[in-house]
Amino acid sequence: MNPRIRRRTGLAAAIAGPLAFGACAREPEPAPDHVSQAEIDEAMHTPTELDFWTWVPGIEKQVALFQEAYPDIKVDVTNSGQGAGHYAKLRTALRAGRGAPDVAQLEYQMVPAFSITDHLLDLRPYGAGDLEDQFVAWVWAQVSGVDGEVWAIPQDTGPMGMLYRADIFEEHGIAVPETWEAFAEAARALHEADPEVYLTNFAPSQGAFFSGALWQAGGDPFGGSAGEDLRVDLTSEQARRVTEYWSGLAAEGVVSTDPDFSDQWYQALNRGKYATWITAAWGPVFLQSTAASTSGKWRAAPMPQWEAGDAVSGNWGGSTSAVFAVSENRIAAAVFAQFINTDPESTMTMATEQFLFPPTKALLEDPAFTGQEPEFYGGQRVNEVFAQISDTVSPDFQWPPFQDQVYADYSDTVGTAIAEGGDALGALDQWQSRVTEYAELQGFTVEES
């Protein structure tokens, strides 16, 4: 009747189609218990090509260092984009059974998503077990499996702090708030004094921020999950506290609710619409390039606390290098992932030239890193501030194996309720039930508490 209809439906099918070959993907060999030094030496002297997918700009520097150390190994870098696009490509290649890289960049919240499908290689047999002491404890917990597996090597992190406009604070006589209560009062006072300015912007679809805020408050919604048993507790006391707090401020109209990383938001940062940005350790450098016109006006401080006198924070962002089980060059891939993230020169370059916030204890204590005094922050030692914050992040925070779905559901329930002035606590229940329903459809045994 109408070929165009069939054709268009076919198009949808063609998009979904290639992702369906999971059934015919070949099974990777089981990982060995131990790989001897002799085997590693042999592999590292065999001419090999490694495929590495990453979005980190300038990663060629680290690759060059690696190739200098291991001249027989050649690393091909592919920039496969960042975020959802990157993971969609990875999943497609993994399901198709070919075309997947040996090593790829994975954010922390995506590590369980790839380990549950048995796509990641446990790096313990390749010497990664010995690296634990080099990394900050909470970071190491993020890449560790329930049975002690090492699923990836940490590359950078995002302990959360607060960047604020010292000039706006001074103009209105606002002290840097140390508690969330003081923060709320300052928000009211500032907006009253200048209706054009908000103390901060709560980006209602930014699930990663909300997770970090929950982390700081002591919430651990998926903590205690193991394999097929999933704990879902998105309506905990802590979650209610965080939700009530932000929905309250948004309803009062004393914080703005613009979508972040949008043109509107960039403009607002430059115009001084927001007096703070509650962000992560990667924020300072990001802000320097996106709000260049405000140079010298910003300062960094720890996040406000729920209890006066506390010093706790959460994490937002950061990523790892993971090796895929389908790799035919497992040893070389595992050595590469470890090298770029632990070699002193490689990690120092990352921290000081690519501005990735380091997860290694050595760098966080290195004056060459912490002693930097960027002009944008009036010469304040911003790295030192965030290095101290990094010590205060709780190790108790677990990601579910489908965090991208959790973020999407968050945005459509809680995020929307906060932005549109709806019933935010009711939306929290909705979020819980959506995630639970999804988890059950995915075959998990869900324990709600």
Binding site: T117, Q405, D412
Partner: protein, 310 residues
């Protein structure tokens, strides 16, 4: 228009030829359509069949892939998110398409009247937005709609007024309709204009002899003879509206809490597959959407055919 007439008469002619002249012509015919059929089968039919097969399974993060029969379809038919999306695009269709087609018709008649100066320039000007990729169009309009930085908002600010919140929950559907209107009015106009050029001039002469003025000619000759072309435009619009994806997908970055993951059925299918990894269910949703569109298009053809017969 011509497509309609050929599909209507071709089967009869084919049957006649087969009966009298034998299969020799048929063979040559197959040779001609062969390359197309191969590509069509490989690129459309096979993936389509595969997706249909695929929609009968459910692959879970835990437990792998299991055959579930029509369970995904049962879920789709009771999925409030899918129906909300379908309702939304249906509303979009009802608001946007009549305005777009009326304007396209108006422009086509105006161009055909021969009374316009610079007719070619006007025609090209109205058609030009269609040449702009819809992604670019959506980004451009997203900028124009911007609440703080957008030119409309700034202009309103200059004269002391407040621009409406184009990206807010109340106006979003209208804002999207406007983008689609901008993109596709010219395209529909060209279809209608081409159909008008195919009307035999004898009809106009006869009408003029009978004393009909330009309005009468437009109403009694031009518009009736546009019926097949209008039907074609309408069916394209049914498909386009129900498949709405690019515009809301791009506007989502500007208004993430207005456009949710299931704002339109296509967006929903996309998010099911690429965010939730529910590929099987996504395939089922795509098929349900395909059936809705097929049913909708058929309904329009049925209604208009019956009317033209009576």
């Amino acid at each position: 228009m011509s497509a309609e007439t050929t599909t209507a008469t071709a089967p009869q002619r084919g049957r006649g030829a087969k009966g009298r002249k034998g299969p020799r012509y048929a063979k040559t015919g197959y040779l001609f359509v062969g390359p197309f059929m191969i590509a069509f089968t490989a690129m459309f039919l096979v993936p389509l069949a595969y997706a249909a097969y695929f929609s009968l399974f459910r692959e879970q993060l835990v437990g792998g892939s299991v055959f579930v029969g029509f369970e995904n379809y049962a879920r789709a038919f009771t999925d409030p998110l899918l129906f909300e999306g379908l309702g939304r695009v249906a509303l979009f269709f009802l608001i946007q398409v009549p305005i777009m087609l009326a304007m396209a018709l108006f422009f086509a008649l105006a161009l055909d009247s021969g009374l316009l100066r610079l007719a070619k320039t006007v025609r090209l000007g109205i058609f030009l937005p269609y040449a702009v990729p819809s992604v670019v169009a959506a980004l451009m309009w997203g900028y124009l709609y911007g609440p703080d930085f957008g030119p409309i908002a700034q202009l309103a600010d200059k004269i002391g007024a407040t621009a409406p919140d184009f990206l807010g929950a109340d106006l979003m559907l209208g804002s999207l309709a406007n983008v689609v209107f901008w993109e596709f009015t010219g395209y529909n106009m060209i279809l209608l204009y081409a159909a008008l050029r195919a009307v035999p001039t004898e009809l106009y002469e006869a009408a003029a002899v009978d004393g009909a003025g330009p309005w009468r000619i437009a109403w009694s000759i031009k518009i009736p003879s546009l019926r097949p072309a209008l039907l074609l435009c309408l069916i394209f619009s049914v498909i386009g509206s129900f498949q709405l994806f690019n515009e809301p997908s791009l506007m989502k970055a500007l208004a993430p809490n207005v456009i949710d993951a299931s704002y339109t059925p296509n967006l929903y299918a996309y998010n099911l597959a690429f965010v939730g990894q529910e590929y099987n269910y996504s395939a089922a949703v795509s098929f349900v959407l395909g059936f809705v569109i097929m049913a909708g298009s058929y309904l329009f053809m049925f209604v208009t055919n019956r009317r033209s017969r009576s």
